[in-house]
Chain length 373, copies 2
């Protein structure tokens, strides 16, 4: 034996196995290396830093809850902005590093680091602010917002404020060379398989050809149907972008985000090009709440940008093969994202697309299944 890689098991219709979830998910956050990667994302850091320090009125003298504090950075900033008390909840052993960091920055009288799942933690009071950096790839991967919702419903005062307060998912048509590489990889894997089947028959007397179809399906999923992390260049965006989900962090429930279903229209704005797929990203805003707004609204966007890349990048959903399109072509897109049955923190996407050319001609619709792993 001896293989590499990892997999996950579970069923979102049954309760999540907490031990499995810890093994599969939380442990990645127990490494300082990963914390450093997030702390080195300047778009992320600047947005939260400015959101806090340009809206000190939300923090001064207040009680704050940081959901998934990691190294403790948001809790520390909240304290530096004048919070009376900050509860910093962290599920992993990273809590010990957070506690050390809090002490080294002389904030141990304000910031209390609590190791535990947000769902299990008891606080001595309700809080004025819940701050959290809960966003995964394409916003909802990781399903961590569930824990923020839980924290909000249990511990936020009726007058409390969410940081961030709003979130949106976006999608746009793109061109990219990634698809060609992936098709090459897939075809090369299938060529290898063919040789393997022949050799196993010749040398070892076993006919493996019955496994060719399932192997092909496994490889198609891996190479062609798994969405890709990519920093899309703005020049690769060949049409308008659409919002496919808006979340009010103060009111959203888990049932609002379990499934994301959207139909939206996109227009090609580039002449004579190829529609190679779709890029997905998100933004969040820090606006406070209507009765207690931000003094400075801050935006954190992960949209394609020449200057401001984030560790989230964009998620790319490839079409095989690409479709020739032209300026003025209209795309009607249907999007459905659900959580994976095997792991509630991963996603499955169904993406349908109809194209009406600027000449009026309708192309055959396409429908594709993708996995956000």
């Amino acid at each position: 034996m001896e293989s590499s890689g990892n997999g996950v098991v579970g069923d979102h219709t049954t309760p999540v196995d907490k031990e499995v979830d810890f093994a599969n998910y939380f442990c990645t956050y127990a490494f300082l290396f990963h914390q450093k990667e997030m702390l080195s994302d300047r778009v992320r850091m600047d947005a939260y830093f400015n959101a806090i320090f340009e809206n000190k009125h939300h923090f001064k003298g207040k009680a704050v809850l940081d959901v998934g504090t990691g190294s403790g950075i948001l809790a520390i900033w909240s304290a530096q902005a004048g919070a009376r008390k900050v509860y910093a909840v962290e599920a992993t052993k990273m809590s010990e590093h957070a506690r050390a960091l809090v002490k080294a920055n002389n904030l141990q009288d304000v910031v209390e680091v609590i190791e535990g799942s947000m769902e299990d933690v008891t606080l001595p009071e309700k809080v004025d602010v819940i701050i959290s950096e809960w966003m995964g790839y394409f916003l909802l991967r990781e399903s961590m917002f569930d824990s923020v919702i839980c924290a909000r419903d249990c511990w936020l005062k009726p007058t409390g404020v969410m940081y961030p307060s709003h979130a949106r998912m976006w999608m746009a048509p793109i061109r990219t060379g990634l698809g060609d590489h992936k098709v090459d990889d897939y075809e090369s894997a299938m060529d290898d398989w063919g040789c393997f089947v022949d050799q196993t028959k010749t040398d070892y007397g076993v006919d493996m050809s019955v496994l060719t179809k399932p192997f092909s399906e496994e490889q198609r999923k891996y190479y062609l149907q798994t969405s890709l992390w990519n920093n899309v260049h703005p020049h690769q965006v060949i049409g308008t972008a659409a919002i496919l989900k808006e979340i009010d962090c103060l009111t959203a429930s888990v049932s609002d985000i379990l499934k994301v279903r959207s139909k939206f229209a996109l227009s090609i704005t580039t002449e004579n090009t190829k529609l190679c797929g779709f890029g997905g990203w998100f933004d969040v805003h820090f606006r406070g709440r209507t009765e207690d707004p931000a003094q400075q609204e801050i935006e954190l966007t992960t949209a394609p940008s020449t200057d401001y890349n984030t560790h989230w990048g964009q998620q790319v959903f490839l079409l095989h093969p690409p479709i020739c399109v032209n300026q003025g072509d209209d795309l009607s897109v249907s999007f459905l994202m659900v959580r994976s049955k095997e792991n509630h923190r991963l996603m499955e996407v169904e993406l349908g697309c109809e194209i009406q050319q600027h000449t009026g001609k309708l192309l055959a619709p396409c429908k594709n299944k993708f996995y956000i792993e």
Copy 2:
């Protein structure tokens, strides 16, 4: 949030969480891609193929149990060699592919594929042969032999035969350039960290320097203390090899393999060279049992070889820095391998080394901790 990689949790003093174990371990074997990698290892394939077909007397008319059948190859060969009945146990959904393969090769009347953990399976009879390819990196990684022992104690007839029948762990002194790269990687990671600490203080008002020590420890573990998969060239072996563990598969108990403790002597056989670390590998033999021996003894070795590389390669344990040695120098090595507290399928190694130069001079002893991840 959003990080990559994966981790594992558990405690070998408490019972293994089966769901976590499945998520972390078994699932990797549910991919045909990984099965193909193992089925393409010709050293592995030839050894089992020859062991079966050159010892048909062990199989003809007999009941066979294949522990962890995967794609079903060993069960199929056992049937082709004349077995009356083969029970092929597989914990993952790979069992469905195995069943299809058995049928496609017209052996469905002989081979019965059973999906389940070996520990949970009930057979209708005791068997004459237990065959299994249970070996992990450096033999014992994965701790899969536990399941073979369990199968043997429950289901092997008193006269039964184990395939393989014997296993050994080996170690030899090596020279390699891998260590320099790893030290460079480590130092570069620490330089990055230094810049990161400065920038976080300057730009975001938080002093991260308290985390420098734990970050350094994390990175040392990752770059310098994790054993490496490598195909060591025989020219890189600079001294004699020693056996540090022998296992009789017919009699070994789990307590015999929980800890591997060994003291052994190695001699440098190369002039003026550098001891950069140690290479570890294993071999297994198919000898039948004393009263019912193999007609042809077969060996499967994963020793360094110019011609016969395996997917197991060798495990390399690096010394930092390397030590100048010469022909005739004698090494006294103490070796202790235990299962990781966090995951019973991973290993932790303590490796001590004393060098007596051929001149008689004793060098300062060194002691290192390693992780087989």
